[in-house]
């Protein structure tokens, strides 16, 4: 892992990965690395929450382990599972060989002792199927663990996370408690679909990534498309900010700004006029009603630009 000794270091290594980070974001990432605490990243969709974790893993040359959360996610998909089929296969083999194992036993007690010894073998590492959380805890090298859209999982799943997040360990009843070899850098992202529990929040550093300022957004666009003209970036960013001011259902996110910039470059647009706006509106907005509103206010949107 590359060494990070200051907030500026974080900003620089992220910038090298094409992630333009504000000082606030860099500070909290730096704190998370130094304090070995998870970061809970919240904010609207498309502002770069997931990308932050991905960029950091690339920047620090650490393996990224991602867990995508969804309703109904349980420990067998997130932490570990026993390989039932393999166990069953071994049971079948054992069935055939059972006489060899207990053949020379003097009495029933002796036979049971021998069988109990075998039972332990069934619940060992050999039959354990590690899922992302366990993988990250058992990894020999430090990893970046991304628990994406944690708010989409059920509240019960949060309880499983608490142990991992607070003491960096996982308890498997049949084996015991596994302590992390290297404490991972954990990112949890949330779109505020539901409120997360206070217990979970308390264990994390809270980072709210909002829509960026005009300057920062312009910088982001330029970092993605270094040859784009300054005037076009300026107009584009101002237009996006004006659209975000409108009362629409879904405000365009940073990723949509980048897509829009790309489409304007592809179409070799020199200046954004209502015609160009109309042509490329599908990239900025996903709802018909929002599109109508943007076009009705095109003077305001492009006037601001």
């Amino acid at each position: 892992m590359k060494k990070v000794e200051s907030v500026e270091d974080v900003t620089n290594i992220l910038a090298k990965q094409g992630y333009v980070s504000s000082e606030e974001i860099s500070t909290i990432v730096y704190l998370a690395i130094k304090m070995k605490r998870p970061i809970l990243v919240e904010g609207p969709a498309g502002v770069g929450k997931t990308e932050l974790a991905k960029s950091l893993s690339r920047a620090l040359a650490l393996e990224l382990i991602q867990l995508q959360c969804y309703e109904g996610l349980d420990e067998s998909k997130a932490i570990y599972e026993w390989e039932y089929a393999k166990q069953l296969l071994y049971t079948q083999i054992l069935k055939e060989k059972i006489n060899d194992v207990i053949g020379d036993s003097s009495d029933l007690n002796d036979s049971i002792k021998k069988l109990v010894g075998l039972e332990d073998a069934f619940f060992s590492d050999h039959f354990l199927l590690p899922r992302p959380l366990l993988k990250s805890i058992r990894s020999e090298k430090q990893t970046v663990l991304l628990i994406d859209e944690v708010d989409k999982s059920d509240p019960e799943f949060e309880a499983y996370l608490l142990e991992v997040l607070s003491s960096n360990e996982i308890t498997i009843p049949e084996i015991g408690t596994l302590q992390a070899k290297e404490i991972p850098i954990v990112f949890l992202t949330s779109n505020n679909v539901r409120d997360l529990s206070d217990a979970l929040k308390r264990r994390c550093l809270n980072l709210y990534v909002d829509f960026p300022t005009e300057e920062l957004e312009a910088q982001i666009v330029k970092s993605k498309f270094p040859h784009i003209r300054d005037e076009l970036v300026d107009k584009l960013v101002k237009a996006v900010h004006a659209i975000r001011e409108l009362e629409i259902k879904k405000k365009p996110s940073i990723s949509e700004t980048i897509d829009w910039a790309e489409s304007l470059l592809t179409l070799q647009v020199e200046d954004i006029t209502p015609k160009e706006l109309q042509q490329t509106l599908g990239i900025l907005s996903k709802y018909k009603t929002d599109m109508d509103q943007i076009m009705q206010n095109s003077d305001k949107v492009l006037g601001a630009a």
């Binding site: 606030e24 500070t27 909290i28 304090m35 919240e42 069953l88 539901r194 550093l205 809270n206």
Partner: protein, 456 residues
């Protein structure tokens, strides 16, 4: 640095934000890693550790600015101490009056309520411990109580004068002190009358007290700031209900064994049913027709109910919303076009709805049946949100009866307190026989209970 963090946390708590000990501990260790002279870094470190609820970010920013940039720290420290000293001073002035009433009340102001509590209730035996200095021993409890109440009435004016004369406090603080003293006295009076009244007017509450009480404040008495908090609370209730629903769903799923599917899947395990398959029960979803009175007297309550309904809309196959004053108009389209907040504002602002006219429930139900004859089906739940103040016109109950007969159930949510339902201006007594349920829905707690019954 540690003392600065502690003071800042204290200031946050004073302003009504919660700061847990573990958050404080995190903050102190985070501060070791940032440059204390860099404002952005200090801000980010404090915010990441101390703000757990993102809705509190705005408030946190203000508090941060006030604390660090307006240098109100020293001022605050002094003012806080001065404020507390003034409360103590008021208590000691009472003690100086020398009699038992003064002593009981001064102890009470100092936080020692035993003396006052001994004089509550109907027991006629006087068991006070104020024997030496107060010489109230052996007196009739009724008499003591009457004396204290009389003194309190006199002291309430004195408390205002006392606060006004605390010139070393800021005007804001003086007002807070006056409110606080008066309320303390008022509470004591209520305790003695043995008839503790439900607190409704909140202007005397300190910030940290307000947060706790919000769920029991009647909707019509909320300040703008509190309305925002109630909206957040409504969102929370919606989430809780969704969680409860998903748990219920899972439980139900676990209970239904799908034999065919289980046997089929056991084939690959040599007939051993390794994976038990269960059958997902069909979800019963109903339709909701919400009729909201948006005349001035009830508009405040309509917004919260609609907000909750729309957050729970996945639970229902369809929600159609109508607003009325004397005619019902559908506003479901507004909800499709705009975010909920904006849609509600627009709905209430619509001119053709008849703002400023007198509410007429009978005419509304009639217009609903005429204009939307097919809206109600057998699986529809009709929700009527209104205070039933019909301005003494004919309630025309036959139209509500017709609606109820068509629907699965009719629930009337009344934001008026129940004791006012049977006054002459309220038509609720006429409509009640045709409703499956009439529910008082004036506070967030009541709204939450109602929603639970509706969806669970």
């Amino acid at each position: 640095m540690v003392s600065m963090v502690l003071k800042f946390a204290g200031y946050m708590r004073y302003n009504g934000l919660t700061v847990s000990t573990s958050a404080l501990h995190n903050t102190i260790s985070a501060m070791q890693w940032v440059n204390p002279l860099n404002r952005t870094q200090v801000y980010a470190a404090l915010e990441s550790c101390l703000v757990q609820n993102m809705t509190e970010r705005k408030k946190f920013r203000k508090i941060f600015q006030k604390f660090f940039e307006e240098q109100s720290l020293i001022e605050l420290e002094h003012e806080e101490v001065a404020y507390k000293m003034q409360v103590q001073e008021f208590a000691s002035q009472l003690r100086e009056e020398g009699d038992y009433v003064g002593k009981i009340l001064s102890d009470y102001m100092d936080g020692e309520v035993a003396g006052l509590l001994q004089n509550m209730g109907d027991n006629q035996t006087f068991r006070t411990v104020y024997d030496e200095t107060a010489s109230g021993i052996g007196m009739n409890k009724e008499k003591v109580r009457a004396d204290i109440i009389k003194r309190i009435d006199r002291l309430k004016d004195k408390a205002v004068d006392f606060a006004d004369a605390s010139f070393h406090l800021s005007r804001e603080k003086r007002e807070a002190l006056s409110d606080y003293l008066r309320q303390q006295l008022e509470d004591a009076r209520e305790l003695l009358k043995n008839n503790p009244r439900k607190r409704k007017l909140r202007n005397h509450l300190m910030p940290w007290e307000r947060q706790k009480a919000i769920s029991s404040i009647s909707f019509d008495k909320l300040t703008m700031e509190e309305q925002e908090k109630v909206k957040q609370e409504v969102e929370r209730i919606a989430q809780k209900l969704k969680d409860a629903l998903s748990r219920q769903k899972k439980k139900a799923r676990r209970g239904h064994l799908d034999v065919k599917n289980t046997i089929r899947h056991s084939m690959k395990f040599n007939g051993i049913p390794f994976n038990i398959k269960t059958r997902r029960p069909a979800r019963k979803k109903g339709k909701i027709i919400a009729l909201c009175d948006i005349s001035m007297s009830v508009a405040y309550a309509a917004q919260f109910t609609l907000l909750l309904l729309y957050r729970l809309q996945n639970r229902f196959s369809k929600i159609r919303s109508f607003v009325f004053i004397r005619n019902a108009y559908e506003i479901s389209d507004l909800f499709k076009k705009y975010p909920l907040e904006t849609a509600l504002k627009k709905a209430i602002k619509q001119h053709h709805i008849g703002m400023g006219q007198l509410t007429n429930y009978g005419a509304t139900f009639k217009s609903f049946l005429t204009n939307y004859p097919n809206a109600i089906t057998r699986d529809t739940t009709i929700l009527i949100l209104g205070d039933a103040l019909n301005n003494c016109v004919d309630p025309q109950v036959q139209y509500l009866k017709e609606m109820s007969d068509k629907a699965l159930r009719t629930i009337w949510l009344n934001p008026e307190e129940e004791k006012y339902w049977y006054t002459t201006s309220s038509a609720i007594k006429d409509y009640e026989p045709y409703c499956s349920q009439v529910v008082e829905c004036a506070t967030i707690d009541q709204l939450s209970d109602f929603a639970k019954n509706l969806v669970l």
